[in-house]
């Protein structure tokens, strides 16, 4: 374990988030079991009031989760010089087997919390709370993910050992650790490009159909999820190269640094927004709800689809602008 202030902060936040999730899940179970909107009993009134608390808690969880994601990457990056061979966050995360799983769980949990808040928003707009049970079942499913993330993060930091001069007489060589690659291997560029542009076109095409004809919602949602994955692949495989202007530097994290004008934050914010709003459409299409939602639901779905459009357009726009405007080429065309 390395006792870096950032690690203390991240562990603290994971405890807080985990605690808040368990607390909410506890009341979630009660709500699932005892909710009866028709009743005027004191218990029902108390449960209704609890829903305000849980909404508030989940909003904070979402915000803190996003913060913790970026802090995590930033911390991994600032720790890289403690490990032989690690050049940036990409290397630090390889130091033990929990680095990358934690990172992926953090992203996943951001998206999950975002989706829950969307469902919650819609539900609160219908006078009979038609989604209340589904919503809290969803919350129960979410909780283990957050706990797993906390544990995984703990293991990552707990197993971390800095390569330092520990003994004044023993062998002092920093053993060249196998596996700490600073470079993420690039994927075949042409395939990644094809995948990225195809899913981009697919998302926008299905999205247009959804906006105009109000059908294919699930397909659009699926496409936007796919686009999220393909964008990540594209970022590693070729987009990052244009930002660094280096033919071999595939790191998805260095774009977050000052040298590149913190442009990475914009890219990742756009990607996360796109994923949450796009997948949100699919979730809303799937869970439907009753008559009381018939007014709200299409409105919210349309709005989410637009947000998804904007976010991905921004991501694609920035990336493509960079590719076109820089002198650097991959020599493909």
């Amino acid at each position: 374990m390395i006792l870096h202030p950032a690690i203390v902060a991240l562990v603290l936040v994971s405890f807080l988030i985990g605690g808040m999730m368990i607390y909410s899940a506890f009341f979630g179970v009660r709500i699932i079991g005892r909710w009866d909107i028709k009743s005027g009993s004191e218990e029902q009134l108390a449960l209704e009031r609890k829903t305000y608390l849980i909404s508030t808690i989940l909003s904070y969880v979402f915000v803190f989760q996003i913060g913790s994601l970026f802090l995590y990457v930033y911390t991994a990056d600032s720790l890289h010089n403690l490990f032989v061979g690690a050049m940036c966050a990409a290397g630090s995360l390889y130091v033990d087997p929990y680095g990358y799983p934690t990172f992926i769980l953090k992203i996943l949990n951001c998206i999950l919390a975002g989706l829950w808040l969307i469902v919650n928003y819609v539900d609160n707009r219908a006078y009979d709370y038609p989604l209340i049970r589904k919503k809290y079942v969803m919350l129960l499913i979410l909780t283990p993910f957050f706990i797993t993330e906390g544990i995984s993060q703990w293991l990552y930091f707990a197993q971390m050992r800095a390569d330092v001069i520990t003994s004044c007489c023993g062998s002092l060589f920093s053993s060249e650790r196998s596996g700490v690659g600073s470079e993420i291997a690039g994927l075949p560029v042409k395939a990644a490009m094809a995948g990225f542009y195809l899913s981009l076109v697919l998302t926008f095409a299905t999205g247009l159909v959804f906006l105009i004809k109000e059908k294919w919602g699930r397909l659009f949602s699926f496409a936007s999820g796919l686009l999220f994955l393909m964008s990540c692949v594209a970022l590693v495989s070729f987009i990052s190269l244009y930002f660094y202007e280096l033919p071999t530097h595939h790191c998805p994290f260095c774009v977050l640094q000052r040298e590149y004008g913190y442009i990475g934050y914009l890219l990742y914010a756009a990607l996360l927004t796109g994923a949450v709003s796009g997948l949100g459409v699919g979730v809303l299409v799937t869970i439907r709800g009753g008559a009381s939602l018939s007014g709200t639901l299409p409105l919210v779905q349309r709005r989410l689809a637009m947000i998804c459009f904007l976010a991905y357009a921004m991501f694609a726009g920035i990336s493509i602008y960079r590719m076109v405007s820089t002198d650097f080429t991959l020599g493909l065309f």
Binding site: L3, P5, A9, Y52, L53, Y60, L71, N81, V164
Partner: protein
Amino acid sequence: MTSWIEKQRSILDYTLSSLIRRKGKNISLFIVYTLVVFILASAMFFTEAMKREASLILKGAPEMVVQRLLMGRYDPIPLDYLQKIRGIRGVISADARLWGYYYDPAVGANYTVMAPRNQSIAQGKIIIGKGIARVRMINKGDILSFHAYDGQVRSFTIDGELPAASELVSADLILITEAGFRDLFGFPASHATDIVVSVRNPQELLTIARKISEQLPDTRPIIRDEIVRTYDSVFDWRGGMVIVLIMMALLAFVIFAWEKASGLSAEEKREIGILKAIGWETSDVIAVKTYEGSVVSFFSFAFGILLAYGHVFFSSAFLFAPALKGWSVLYPDFRITPFIDPHQVGILFFLTVVPYTVATIVPSWRAAIVDPDSVMRS
């Protein structure tokens, strides 16, 4: 959307006016909050600054130093090792260094005594660092006496002081001729303190280090990057340690915040009751409480950081420099280069604002669920 913004604006308006009305209650919170941020931020800025200073100094350090070990302890290195090292492919140069420590009982301090390789000093003269000049109250032209290895006194005339710019490194430094050095410590002419090596390609450092320890098994090469790493982790560890210690204070603060948020005055309860009675919704009141917390957090956080910035970078962290800096009596009288990066601010945010916010969620909610008809029943 515009109506949402308009609503938030109105609620924020109301929050600010109610915060100002309850100055007294919030001032104690503000002071404690600021203090917590200040302590944490000072500790972090300071360790981070030390880390940076150390790495700046180490930037000028040689890429590789070779020491000799005897019985697992450091020992002077024979000068004929130089040839063997120079013979290794990839080595540009290898030079012997002469340096050591001298304890001055008069001031209870250790001086670093060094024979420079590329600066000629006249026989019987020395050049001293500012720190020594200060504590011994001596200047150019004065004479400084040392007790040599054989118990005799050796005196040297001071030929000048080292420039102030490098004070952190040079405060305790004495530059002396090679002959003077060997005479003072009784150091044999065939040996040196250690050997510095420079290599053509930094990527080959490890390979060359391995070759040196193969050919000269009683030596140990030390690579600069390893020192940097060690320093970094030592400073990180110190910083983290301080934060763990401060965690107790943080816990106390969180409990205090919880108490403050839960302990609503009768007046405040009535006010929330009125708001709910005239049509404010539970989530509107929660919004008021959230804004209240954000405003307090924002000002305390900003103010605490500003104070810490001044404390660390303009007063050289006078409050806890003695605890964190090290052992030397010859404190360099230096200003730490001001430096903050967003990462540190982010960490501070997570260590202070986030726990505070979490501590106030439940009390805020509890305040907000007052029955709307409570004002009619009283």
